[in-house]
Symmetry: C2
Subunit: 311 residues, 2 copies
């Protein structure tokens, strides 16, 4: 019997994903699968899912083998008690590459002081010699799939990279620290800090008044991770005092960032509209179909979410 694959995401996603998903299904030998936006719940084999979909009650999906998330973040769905089947998060090689490129661009921008040149408003010939990357300490908070790749790419460009995670991890070429003492040590080195922690109760306000004060004076912060990682009032105060020189923020507690949010107009903040990690439909579709192939072959799913940890 052909597979029934429910696409449960907003209609504009369907336009983006229908073709790439069908291509990937064809390529994997599931050309006869029924991929649709509406299927009788009790007949659904797999759900391709976005957490902002209207589908929030998974109870009637009695034979569904897995929920395959289109996004990396699962915090909006991981606490849903009706979701009892395996849940896979998206680890899209295109998304990872896009994230690595976005972080690399902003790290280089701070490292070289490029804003000075972009914002210069009058002729002024003032040469300056920035340190080399090998003299610059960058800290990556979070060593998941994204954080580890970001850390290794920055190390490849010559930066002194420290990685931090809640529990001990090893990443080739990176000085990895963990736990509370490791966080303090990491932050004390962070001329540039990149936030790539997941959004869990334990990571909320990782950067707060106390931890911001542990960073070197004049440090830079780049947050492509999750909005709640930062205590916003503490960051604004640290920017105003000069403790933090500048911040580039891609994610926020409320998105789109409200027009009256002080971040928009703060001279030491660059706001980007949640663009650091866009899933690319072609590469993401291949990942989703790979999990369908595994499900049908009774092989273990990849990128499964650990419900206890929340990511």
């Amino acid at each position: 019997m052909p597979l029934n694959i429910l696409f449960a995401a907003r209609p504009e996603r369907w336009e983006t994903y229908e073709r790439p998903l069908r291509d990937a299904l064809d390529k994997a030998g599931f050309g006869d699968a029924n991929l649709a936006q509406e299927i009788n719940p009790r007949d659904v084999d797999y759900i391709v899912y976005a957490p902002n979909s209207p589908l929030q009650d998974f109870t009637p999906y009695t034979r569904t083998k897995a929920v395959l998330n289109l996004w990396a973040g699962v915090e909006a769905i991981v606490g849903n008690d009706t979701l009892t089947m395996p849940l896979a998060r998206m680890v899209d090689p295109g998304l990872t590459k896009g994230m690595v490129e976005w972080v690399t661009g902003h790290v280089m921008r701070y490292h070289l002081g490029i804003d000075t040149d972009i914002l210069r408003s009058a002729p002024e010939w003032m040469p300056r010699t920035p340190p080399l990357a090998q003299e610059r300490q960058v800290v990556v908070l979070g060593l998941g799939a994204l954080g580890a790749t970001v850390a290794q790419t920055l190390a490849g460009l010559g930066f002194q990279v420290t990685g931090w995670s809640r529990s001990a991890k090893k990443v080739d070429g990176i000085d990895c620290l963990h736990g509370a003492a490791g966080l303090k040590e990491s932050l004390s080195r962070a001329e540039i800090a990149v936030l790539l922690l997941p959004d869990t109760p334990a990571t909320h306000n990782t950067l707060n008044a106390e931890t911001l004060a542990q960073m070197p004076k004049g440090a830079f912060i780049i947050n492509p991770g999750r909005g709640p990682l930062i205590d916003d009032n503490a960051l604004l105060a640290a920017l105003d005092s000069g403790q933090i020189a500048h911040a580039t923020l891609d994610v926020f507690r409320v998105e789109p960032l409200p027009a009256d949010d002080p971040y928009w107009t703060h001279p030491k903040v660059t706001v980007t509209p949640h663009i650091a990690a866009e899933t690319r439909a072609s590469t993401a579709s291949e990942v989703i179909v790979e999990n369908i192939r595994r499900g049908e072959a009774d092989e273990p799913f990849i990128n499964l979410v650990d419900r206890a940890l929340g990511y």
Copy 2:
């Protein structure tokens, strides 16, 4: 007899270089060398040299074994007929690293469209998805020590990199083209062009009205090489027509760039004050002393200038 090493550069350079040079001499076993800013010309064994030094007549330096340039560029001295001894240009690993970092920063900036975020003046949440580096063509004109390393670093970040040089060259991982036909083909691919050609009569106005028109519409130009590589009026016209979207220029025909130069205020130009490739005194001193060691050991000098080619 101890070596006599003349330091012939502006006085402020002496302050920067005296200590690192003495350290490097010590380390190489020449701790007793006489390093000074004034030495009787006929006693000088080596000249550490900057082309803007008052020393322009090398005739009296009859026993000098080599002139060791502090800079990468030798165009101001290579035509000097009195300079008959071997001339080495600076290939400073610190300079190369700094150049690679500067170019990487500006390529990533254009690739990601970072200026949009830096210059945004009002709240506006407008997500965009730039292509991945693997979908972006970058062309490096010039495959010398700097160009080859820049090309390989950009390829390592995933970009599709084409390299071009006057005569055929091979660089691992880079699609290398050469000659007039190769230039046209290279430019036709150049969504982002990086200029790292030497300054010779043959490279003047490499980018002119004709060649700028061969680039894809909306291309970006990054010039950390030499000012005369670009026909400035042609570039200004191409920026105004939209053929070229934006240019970042680090070098100019006249430096410092005069205050009334249109580049300073052009909305599609970023001026940087010749900072892409700063020699770092510590690493450069080691290179200079390595050539002194080679001269004393009768080994061939490194980084010798080919007088016929001019670089």
